[in-house]
């Protein structure tokens, strides 16, 4: 294995389809129009020296190292800023060019500290490389020219340092922050020799707007911006391409290694989801894998009040299997179940549902998608015939109007957020529907044309009023609808939408959004060109979540915004493999590939492959499992890689359910909150320690590759396999690729997927089968999967969760960039420096009337429970609405969320809870009790000391 060196072409690829032929050093080269001479040369295998150019950024032309000569033209233009032309004859190496380049390098080097041997970038420095490339052998000006100002090293960022004395002022960092990340945190301050890179107003990085995406560090050709891990460990010696295990964007990274130690994670330019970019989580927050809290030995206990006892794998697995078998013998086959993890691989998820269906003999399997995107599944399946998002991420580059509903891409899906912002800076229009003023509404060089700041819980009212405008103002794309959709259903829907009671004016009393804003937004969406909808959990996590998804689908169909690049309906998935875990049959009513368990032909295929009779009845969903546990008919569960206690709503109800069970098996990296109620703890492995695949929000199946041996001894699929065998159901896979082969054999949409193909292609977007051997970037191109698109009437039914005298405010919840989900991983990294605790955002008006100041402790209470946290007074929320995150177990924000849920899928209504906020002195009694219980529950019995025999 060696270090994967990606070619740097110097300037971005041109999208033109017109080709141009020129000669470079006598060699004929044909490239798309608009390509730089530098890139054309590199494509022909000639590397022109360069410093300020790199292919992630537009050319800048400042270093003057990349000079060329062109026959028939005077001078020595820069090849990075000179575009190719038909018949052009270029020379990249002449006596004159050599002389000029040496002169340029000489100036750079005379300004640069010459501590190369001890520099952290030694061997990985473009300045060094270029000195070599131009043959620099002496520096006539001496080495003591005026140095850049040397204000020392800025080490404020936990992951990288900034050492200005090494800066060559190439501006690559500044441009990366602007063009790639879109944060605009850096500038070049000062002039001439005094110029220096400066975050914001010459502040340390940590105090600036920097979001620590790492783009500048990656772009820097010198050691000026350098990863601390490289400084500590040294440069890497080999690398492996793999997929980020954090969010649904699914960024591709090179894990750069020294032996089994990760030196750094570098975004991979060939990654089709991220195109070489990253966020602070995937790029830097991988240290949890070796955190001291990680549990690597299996543990068991009879009772949740006992301390844990460390045991062998055999004993732990046998203990779990015996308990499960005993429960089933006593309480029936359906008294146990399992939960698959959206953080685990497709292969691991597939195996857990197979364990439940074939070994447990029931369909009690569910996944965390229950609490996030299950309404997407129901809604899109009903209207379009498949539950998947319709586009690939590249599609955003062709959008003219972007409608973001209930999503906060710059925090939740940061790399896609950056790609979206890039398109918006290029001129695409933006409509935001969100109760909160998310960053996109106004950030540097991006401003929403319309922000519909609706009241939480009124999505359906808002969407139907948008539809009203489309229908009544003649903005329907009738040709599209007639050709692609069921016309009768459309007419019913149109008549419904046109009713006066659905007009923006009539709905304003519910949504709080001025009718004119709704009308303007609807007109823009319907007539502004390619219009794409991106939505998140602010859509799904409501009692009308599924209805909202259908309302979105209606709107896209009515305006013909479906079935080509630049348009579509795109759910932004939360966890890295939510899409995959749903595809793999994690729902209690569906086999892999979304086929109902009661369909005999489908069930028979599975039965013959798996050698067991399978249950034709749907199983329990997570909330139903808890109800059944309290009722006494559900007694045991196997939970792989999910912390349902912290992530699911109504914590007290969850605790009651979990405590009522006889055997809870938790497989995880850490003693997560759910493990407090577990009887068996099976240590899990991280994404760095396993092989498999993840599927991102664009249906892209991507390889996850093992870079180190699992610290716990096994990959997660191996553990499931051991449990299945102990339950008496044989499983004998040698490698996850064999599991994928089984998935492909059983699931038509995956028929063409193999590990070999993934290695060749890098990634594949399903469906991938005979009709689409290379996968499907955009869905519904020639027609909807279900045949005709189905319009569905979406009557607005207000949620029963209403504010009133006792609970006058509405709470909505969300997430923040630096933390991930329940925070079990990110809290165990330096990411916590950005978000050490959950805060309650409250509008100044609501704060003032309650005597609350910024930073005060407040008690947040609902009819479900109460918790205390600190307040952050902020105008991002409208008066009457408060907001918090759920990343920290200390806060347990879900103590206050309720058991209301989506009518179709039971996805909890996280986004609307009626609450009261009052000043308080600190944590509530419940928090303190819980904390105490939690500490007790995590005790691990001291292993008996074995005295060695003499």
């Amino acid at each position: 294995m060696s270090l994967i060196e990606e070619i740097d072409y110097g300037t971005p690829r041109s999208k033109s389809e017109t080709m141009v032929t020129l000669t470079i050093d006598g060699k004929e080269v044909t490239v798309p129009e608009g390509t730089s001479v530098m890139r054309a040369a590199m494509e022909a295998g000639t590397e022109i020296p360069k410093l300020c150019a790199t292919d992630m950024l537009e050319s800048f032309g400042s270093c003057r190292l990349c000079l060329i000569e062109i026959e028939g033209r005077n001078g020595t233009p820069a090849s990075c800023t000179t575009l190719v032309a038909e018949g052009m004859a270029v020379h990249t190496q002449t006596e004159r060019l050599k002389r000029l380049r040496k002169g340029v390098m000489e100036l750079y080097i005379s300004e640069h500290p010459l501590d190369c041997l001890t520099c952290s970038a030694n061997g990985d420095c473009e300045l060094q490389d270029m000195s070599g490339a131009v043959g620099l052998r002496e520096v006539r000006y001496g080495y003591d020219g005026k140095k850049h100002p040397n204000p020392g090293i800025d080490a404020s960022n936990p992951y990288f340092t900034y050492e200005p004395s090494k800066c060559i002022v190439c501006s690559r960092c500044v441009r990366a922050c602007e063009e790639v990340q879109g944060t605009f945190a850096l500038t070049i301050a000062g002039r001439g020799f005094d110029s220096v890179v400066s975050p914001s107003m010459q502040e340390p990085f940590m105090e600036s707007e920097c979001v620590s995406c790492g783009a500048c560090v990656q772009a820097c050709p010198t050691a000026t911006l350098n990863e601390k891990s490289v400084i500590d460990i040294g440069t890497p010696e080999h690398s492996v391409v793999t997929t980020c295990a954090y969010c649904g964007v699914g960024c591709t990274f090179k894990a750069e290694m020294r032996g089994e130690e990760v030196v750094r994670m570098l975004p991979y330019k060939d990654g089709k989801a991220n195109r070489g970019h990253s966020c602070v989580k995937g790029r830097f927050a991988w240290g949890y894998a070796s955190h001291k809290d990680r549990i690597t030995t299996p543990m068991i206990r009879e009772n949740i009040n006992d301390p844990w006892r460390e045991v062998s794998w055999e004993e732990a697995i046998q203990f779990a299997a015996d308990k499960f078998k005993a429960i089933q013998a006593k309480h029936g086959r359906s008294s146990i179940g399992g939960i698959t993890s959206s953080r685990c691989t497709n292969e691991e998820t597939f195996l857990v549902q197979k364990l439940v269906r074939a070994a447990f003999g029931n369909n009690n399997v569910d996944t965390c998608a229950r609490v996030c995107h299950s309404p997407t599944g129901y809604g899109l399946n009903t209207t379009y015939g498949t539950s998947a998002g319709t586009q690939d991420f590249d599609s955003i580059e062709y959008s003219d109007v972007v409608l973001v509903i209930g999503a906060n891409p710059t925090d939740g899906h940061p790399v896609f957020g950056s790609r979206m912002k890039k398109r918006l800076r290029e001129g695409a229009k933006l409509i935001v529907a969100d109760p909160r003023q998310i960053d996109l509404v106004r950030s540097p060089h991006v401003e929403a044309d319309f922000h519909m700041q609706l009241k939480p819980g009124t999505n359906v009212a808002l969407l139907t009023s948008l539809a009203h405008v489309v229908v009544t103002e003649g903005l329907v794309n009738e040709d599209f609808v007639r050709e692609r959709c069921d016309w009768d259903e459309f007419q019913d829907w149109a008549a419904f939408a046109a009713e006066e009671r659905n007009s923006p004016e009539a709905m304003e009393k519910y949504t709080g959004v001025p009718a004119e804003t709704v009308r303007g937004a609807a007109r823009l969406y319907a007539t502004g060109g390619n219009a794409a909808i991106y939505y998140g959990l602010g859509v799904t996590e409501h009692s009308q979540g599924s209805t909202t998804v259908m309302a979105i689908a209606n709107l896209a169909m009515a305006t013909g915004n479906i079935g080509r690049e630049g348009v579509g309906v795109n759910p932004l998935r939360g966890q890295n493999n939510v899409q995959g875990s749903c595809d793999m049959g994690s729902f209690p009513h569906e086999f892999p590939g979304y086929r109902h368990v009661s369909t005999d032909t489908v069930r028979e295929t599975f039965e013959s492959m798996w050698g067991r009779e399978l249950d034709s009845e749907p199983g329990l969903r997570i909330p139903n499992m808890m109800d059944a546990a309290i009722d006494g008919s559900f007694k045991g569960m196997y939970i792989q890689g999910e912390d349902i206690l912290q992530s699911d709503p109504d914590t007290k109800h969850m605790i009651a359910g979990l405590s009522a069970m006889e055997c809870v098996v938790v497989q995880d990296l850490f003693l997560v909150e759910t493990a407090d109620f577990a009887h068996v703890f099976l240590p899990g492995s991280t994404f760095l320690e396993k092989n498999g695949t993840f599927t991102n929000a664009e249906r892209r199946i991507q390889p996850v590759r093992k870079v180190m041996a699992p610290k716990n001894g096994y990959e997660d699929w191996e553990i499931t396999q051991m449990l299945a065998n102990a339950m008496g159901y044989p499983m004998h896979y040698e490698h996850p690729s064999e599991i994928m082969d089984e998935i492909a054999a059983l699931t038509p949409k995956f028929a063409g997927v193999t590990f070999k193909k993934l290695d060749e292609e890098g990634s594949i977007q399903w469906p991938c089968n005979e009709e689409a051997p290379n996968g499907t970037p955009v869905m519904h191109v020639d027609g909807f999967v279900r045949g005709k698109g189905k319009f569905v009437v979406t009557e607005y039914v207000p949620t029963d969760e209403k504010s009133g005298p006792r609970f006058p405010l509405l709470l909505t919840t969300g997430r923040i960039l630096s933390q991930y989900n329940v925070g079990a991983q990110t809290r165990r990294t330096a990411n916590s420096e950005w978000h050490p605790e959950d805060l309650l955002e409250i509008h100044p008006f609501d704060a003032e009337t309650r005597g609350i100041r910024d930073g005060d402790w407040v008690k947040l209470s609902s009819r479900s429970g109460e918790t205390a946290l600190r307040a952050q007074v902020s105008e991002r929320m409208a008066p009457g609405v408060v907001y918090t995150t759920f990343h920290h177990p200390k806060t347990q924000a879900n103590v206050v969320t309720t058991d209301f849920s989506d009518w179709a899928t039971n996805c909890p209504e996280y986004k609307v809870t009626a609450v009261q906020v009052m000043p308080s002195n600190g944590p509530t009694e419940w928090q303190e009790e819980y904390d105490e219980f939690s500490r007790k529950s995590r005790r691990i019995e001291e292993a008996p000391t074995v005295v060695a025999a003499e």
């Binding site: 259903e489 009513h589 009845e617 969903r621 009557e795 058991d899 009518w903 179709a904 899928t905």
Partner: protein, 81 residues
């Protein structure tokens, strides 16, 4: 809403009804019944059927009719088996 399981199930039936009663092309009760058949685990269906037998408090209009349809479907399935 109380935490009692049956109350919760009744609430869910009515909530499903709030969608189907507005669908012009589908009989609301049929829609509710099919949805429940498709997504509810047998023990939940059993509980709601028992609740119907015991008077079915809280189940009105299409919701009640839906559970009756569910009962008939279940009986038919039993006699077919």
């Amino acid at each position: 809403m109380s935490h009692s399981n049956v109350d919760r199930l009744v609430y869910m039936v009515n909530q499903i009804g709030d969608f189907f009663k507005y669908q012009p092309h589908e009989d609301a009760a049929e829609g509710i019944a099919n949805h429940i058949k498709k997504f509810w685990d047998p023990r939940m269906r059993k509980q709601i059927l028992e609740h119907l037998e015991a008077g079915g408090e809280g189940l009105e209009g299409p919701s009640r009719k839906a559970i009756e349809i569910l009962r008939d479907m279940t009986q038919k399935a039993k006699s077919d088996a």
